[in-house]
Amino acid sequence: MSHPGGSKKQHLGLLCGLAGLLLLCLPPALAQSAVPGKNDALYLYRGADRDQRLLDAARKEGSVALYTSLATTESRPLAAAFEKKYGIKVDLWRAISDKVVQRTVTEGRAKRYAVDVVETNGPEVEMIAREKLLSEFFSPYLADFPPAAIAPNHLWVSDRLELYVVAYNTNKVKREDLPKHFEGFLDPKWKGRLGIEATDSEWMGAIVKKLGTDRGMKLFEKLAEMRPDVRKGHILLAEMVAAGEVPVALSAYHANAESLKRRGAPIDWVAIEPVVGRPQAIAVAKNAPHPSAALLFADFVLSPEGQGLLNSLGRVPLSLKVSTSLNNFPYILIDPATVLDESGKWESLWDKLFINK
């Protein structure tokens, strides 16, 4: 894009504005899809001197831009640990996952390459991957991860999990009264005491698939008849459990419930089968301005050190090198690509059951 820079007269400025408007309206060509990334060689280098080369180059780059949806209570300490270890500054931009996609994709289309590393919800990272803005990368720590954590297209790695658990208010509900299975909640005594989050169609999808369509759909249809309290946002749901407003939340995020519990709120959680895990993933940008620092940061997050740090902050790490008490139960890992491909189906079903009542 070349425009007469610093136009002196406002009518010229206006002309430029209109030209810009026209240009933004024209869909850019689908050029970048087939072109290999300029950083691919660096990202995939496996030589013996990899780590040293990477560190030297990253230090020269001096900083790394991270777009993430990880709460600042965890992403800041993570960034600070990286800065302390390597002396490389982390420019942290935090927003909810779909804003991360919006910004990364919009900048990418305009060829303004500002982001180095993306770390957010799995399906959202897969969206960015489908927009051809990510590159495959090699890290010596990939071996520590279960195969399901690595994307089939190799464009991202799941570094942590968000677990759907049942959270309950300890003043209003006794742990031993909670059923062993979701179907136990269909007992009329739970009517008026249950809550769910407004956008959890992928949670329903995973459970229905696990239980089989007949049994699974019957469970959710019956559940909808109980008319659970629908809350927008998992944080709000967990806070409402702690305040006693929602005695039992069926699809709470483990991290939210755990952090409130650690602060002494009357909340606890149980993993009622089938437990669904939502992968959160990390990826490096194809056109990262600081590719070495980007890869070094990904290395750090995937290393036992970074994973241990996440664990101590109450997040569920996926590295098998870190032992955690947070996931010593079986769970189903949602596949981000499937979520994207089937989202229409599950969302309309979910809305019909729970939202448009």
């Binding site: 894009m1 425009h3 820079g5 610093g6 406002q10 009518h11 400025g13 206006l14 504005g17 030209a19 810009g20 408007l21 240009l23 933004l24 309206c25 869909p27 689908l30 899809s33 831009a65 709460a71 600042t72 209570t73 420019d91 942290l92 931009w93 935090r94 927003a95 909810i96 779909d98 804003k99 996609v101 919006q102 910004r103 919009t106 289309r109 305009a110 500002a114 399906p123 927009e131 407004a198 629908v230 809350r231 927008k232 944080i235 709000l236 967990a238 409402m240 702690a242 305040a243 006693g244 407003e245 952090s259 409130l260 602060r263 002494g264 709120a265 989202s343 939202i355 448009n356 009542k357």
Partner: protein, 581 residues
Amino acid sequence: MAAAGQLLAQPSTGASGWLKFDFKWLVIGVCVLAVAYLALMPLGFLLWQSFFTPQTATKAAEFTYGNYLAAYTSSETLKLFFTSVGYAAGTSIFSFTVGTLLAWMNERTNTPLKPLFFALSIIPLIIPGVLFTVAWILLASPKIGIVNLMLQGLFNTDHVFVNIYSIWGMIWVDGLHYSSMAFLIMSAAFRSMDPSLEESAMMSGASVPQIAWHITLKLTWPAIFATLLILFVRSIESFEVPALLGLPVGIQVFTSAIYDAIHQYPSQIGLASSYAVTLLLITTVGIYFQSKLSSQGNKYSTVTGKGFRPRSMDLGKWRYVTASIFVFYFSLIVVLPFLVLLWSSLQKFYSVPSMAALHNLSFDAYTFILTYPTLASAVVNSLFLAVGCATLVMLLTSVICWIVVKTKLPGRWLLDNLASLPMVFPGLVLGLAIMIFYLYFDIGIYGTIWIMFIAYVTRFMPYGLRYNTTSMMQIHRELEESAAMSGASWGTTFWRIILPLLKPGLMAGWIYIMIVSIRELSTSILLYSPGTEVVSVLIWELWENGQYVELSALGVMFILALFMMVMLAQFVGRKFGVKED
């Protein structure tokens, strides 16, 4: 706009007259161009997008009517739309009634303690929307609401007295939250009223309610219309209260359709835009009717050349009644939610006030906020944006408003309309439009604070315009004419006559825009970069992190700081413009 000059009375002759003429042209031209530039860009984006399918890496955007078909052929949309209209009507009428009553007592009567009440009336607006709503959940939820628990204890029953999760609860909370907006506009309108008519009515034996109804309200009809219009459009567009209070009981509004469209993959910006077109039409119709009012000449002008003296009415012993209404209102609406905030800011987690929780009091949350790494820069950035945006918008729209109200230019209502449309652009679409525009049209502001500045000015321009219009319509032409007769240039007249007389509207609008700029989130969240964080992003961050306690602490400090700023602005404002007795 080429005809503008011919239509303005300008008694200038000779070479010096030419220069004055030139200056006027420059100011008007720059303002019109600025408004056109700011408003047309996102409008063009929105309309254009509404005819395209989403673009992805594998599929280019294609021209389609599908968005409009999908948006307007579903019975679901129609249902949402009617719910929204009902909700917005209820909310706007409620806010209007509360705000106008307060404004009337504050401006037209001699109720004691008025200066304090002015700043207090604005507090609901200052409290971040999510906090205000959650405070009301804690107060009026059927399960844990303190009001219900207390009344149930009092009458020994389990009857639910108030239920915040209902359309009435939504209207109550949102209506109260925005009563300050009505208060500010109506205050400005009441302040510029010539009391001679009220005094004559009083002489003829009319009672205070009769005067208020037949004289005061009738005279401020344009302001009433503008207030209702802006309140209605804003509440149709509101999202927080329906999401927090409506959703749990299945009440869905029009904005949730827009939200759902955007939050898909690929993001259906086109579908969201086609929904927004309805909001554009509603606004256009409203502005058209408003322009009919302003074209009725000087019917509503109260500020004339005949010794204008804004004076308030003596209520006699009734002033203690109005004072007690004030006290009652503030204890219920301002003090109660504020105390809930203060209470939770001293806790370790959000909980209902009780003796047991009294043992958990701590100042940790305040320490946390004051040592928050981005706090200082966020406050500085927000103050810069808020003060800069409020000042620029009020000055810019005062000129636009002058063209719309004081000239006979054909099609001037379109200018008014153009400048008013950004009010109904969904925040995210506006943010995206600005983001994409400055990514391609690279003048070096992407990633800086200036892109947010442009977004704020665009977003709040319509509000500035409405505030200015109400005051502008009250200023009689004869004042300008006498200035011109005495040889003043257009610039001098504007600066020395119009702006000072416009002061009530300017001040009210300035305060409003300053406060809402600090709260602005939907475009800020997309446009901020590391280093240009703002307070609203900080608030959002705390909310998303689940740090309600820390958020409450920030809210408390926020309210106190803005309360002082409003008092200060009021104090400074009193030094300029038309003096009261």
